[in-house]
């Protein structure tokens, strides 16, 4: 059995920032990720990030991943385990890990869960045909492995992910036939919509997919209009000759480990589903278990990084390390509040109100 002071599960922006913050306080950290490399969502994001300069906005996601990883690898009190999936957190605090081919156990004094989020699915006829992808899968294929998913894509969902992945598809030379969105207005940022509009991609609001067409794989899609009550309007069906249907219909926090650890959970729509109650330090109702990033509520990389720093500092502080920790934490809290202060942060603020303990 191995032991560490702070175990951090998930090496995306939240986990890496948590590791750095805690290690700089002097704590011994083990950072665990199931991927082949650190970075989480960032390794697939070839676009320049919106957000704050402090969190590297204006830089492409892939480069932000490198910057954060370099910082983490410089600290020799951080042990990094990649290709390591955390399977469970048991009542006695034992964390079990599938590390490569091996089954390992780890105990920790504090644990930060920064496992990110998972994609939501959509129900429609033939949604199990090959050629129906989640946006994350399209990004992994295209941006990590250099493989295009097909020739002509129907994108479902005009939130930021749907808009950005559409843009990345076009950059990869793939045609995007249309982006459809069930809501009467698209949810993504205007500037991201404007980018694909001026290339000529139509964004059809109040539209949904009825079915995927094809026997062995996707050969087309039928879309139709929705009325004000989100009911399909008969007679408005339209067939599109696409070979890929890409779903970008939202994310839910990845919270299995939090359930397993016994954290008090609550269903709150704004952060994307079931999430853990937390205090100001981002500690859950189970003492010693902290959360950060999309796992605490789906938001953005900027906020994931700051939450990571707050959780990392809190955990280190609780272990008695204190190099100006409370002062730094106050600064980050102020920073994250500013980030969430605007119009688009409203949803986040509403959600957080329901989750405070």
């Amino acid at each position: 059995m191995q032991s560490t002071e702070i175990a951090i599960i998930g090496g995306g922006p939240a986990g890496m920032c948590a590791a750095q913050a805690a290690a700089e306080q002097g704590a011994r950290v083990t950072l665990i990720d199931r991927g082949k490399q650190l970075g989480g969502q960032l390794v697939k994001q070839t676009h320049r990030f919106f957000g704050s300069e402090y969190e590297y906005a204006g830089i492409r996601g892939i480069h932000i991943a490198n910057i954060l990883e370099d910082a983490v690898r410089k600290l020799d009190n951080i042990e990094i385990k990649i290709d390591s999936t955390v399977l469970a957190i048991y009542g006695d605090g034992v964390i079990t890990i599938e590390e490569g081919e091996n089954y390992k156990k780890l105990t920790s004094k504090k644990t930060i869960i920064s496992t990110g989020a998972s994609e939501k699915m959509l129900v429609f006829t033939n949604n199990d045909l090959p050629g129906v992808y989640g946006a994350g899968a399209v990004q992994t294929l295209m941006n990590e492995h250099g493989v295009i998913p097909g020739e002509n894509v129907l994108m479902i969902g005009a939130g930021n992910i749907g808009l950005i992945v559409s843009y990345q598809l076009i950059q990869a030379g793939v045609k995007v036939a249309a982006v459809i969105e069930a809501a009467p207005q698209f949810g993504g940022y205007h500037v991201h919509a404007a980018k694909i509009k001026r290339i000529g991609v139509p964004i059809l609001t109040s539209h949904t997919i009825k079915e995927a067409i094809g026997k062995e794989f996707v050969e087309g899609a039928v879309i139709c209009r929705l009325d004000a009550n989100w009911k399909q309007i008969a007679g408005t069906e339209k067939k599109l000759d696409v070979d890929v249907i890409c779903l970008a219909v939202g994310l839910s926090p990845l919270v299995e480990l939090l359930w397993h650890a016994g954290c008090q959970m609550k269903y709150v729509p704004q952060p994307g589903g079931y999430v853990a109650l937390r205090d100001r330090d981002l500690q859950t109702t189970v003492p010693g278990i902290y959360i950060a990033g999309d796992a605490s509520g789906v938001e953005e990389a900027s906020s994931a990084m700051i939450e990571g720093k707050i959780a990392g500092l809190s955990a280190a502080e609780a272990l008695g390390y204190n190099k100006n920790a409370s002062h730094m934490k106050a600064k980050y809290m102020e920073e994250i509040n500013i980030l969430r202060a605007g119009n688009v942060g409203k949803k986040v603020r509403e959600g957080l109100k329901m989750l405070a303990v």
């Binding site: 676009h47 320049r48 990030f49 919106f50 957000g51 704050s52 300069e53 906005a57 204006g58 830089i59 492409r60 480069h63 076009i170 950059q171 207005q185 940022y189 205007h190 500037v191 991201h192 919509a193 404007a194 980018k195 509009k197 001026r198 290339i199 000529g200 991609v201 953005e300 900027s302 500013i338 980030l339 969430r340 202060a341 605007g342 119009n343 688009v344 942060g345």
Partner: protein
Amino acid sequence: MLPKNDKAYVEMVKRLLPSLKRREKGPYAIFECFQEIPCNPCLTACRKGAVDIFIDINHLPIINYEKCNGCALCVIACPGLACFVIDETYTKTETSIKLPYELLPLPKAGQEVEALDRQGNVVGKAMVIRVQNHKKMDHTCIIAIAVLKEQSLVVRNIRY
């Protein structure tokens, strides 16, 4: 809300324009950023201090046209690709527009291309004046094009 059609869009952009006197002086930036989102690379990228400092990261950027010299650093920095540089003094009949461009292949200087509006409709022809693409720009290229004066506020993309 994002303007529905191009006409409404152009009207919104018109309100951003500097004074006629400033426009006659040479290149200036415009930020087609109409939604408050937590984002500030335009502010931090500008070396002339021409973006009024906004403390709340959600605020819309406002350009101080006394300071903006149309250098186009913001064009590269904006993650929304929403910054453009307009030079109405390019020739008597043409305006030059600097566009952010992230697609391949890149056009060449001297090439005639189709000019597109914000909905991707072809609205005429444009001449590529210059293509800037150096390492520091990290694949966000700047394409300078010449378009007819009356299309300065309409053309925002090219195709070829």
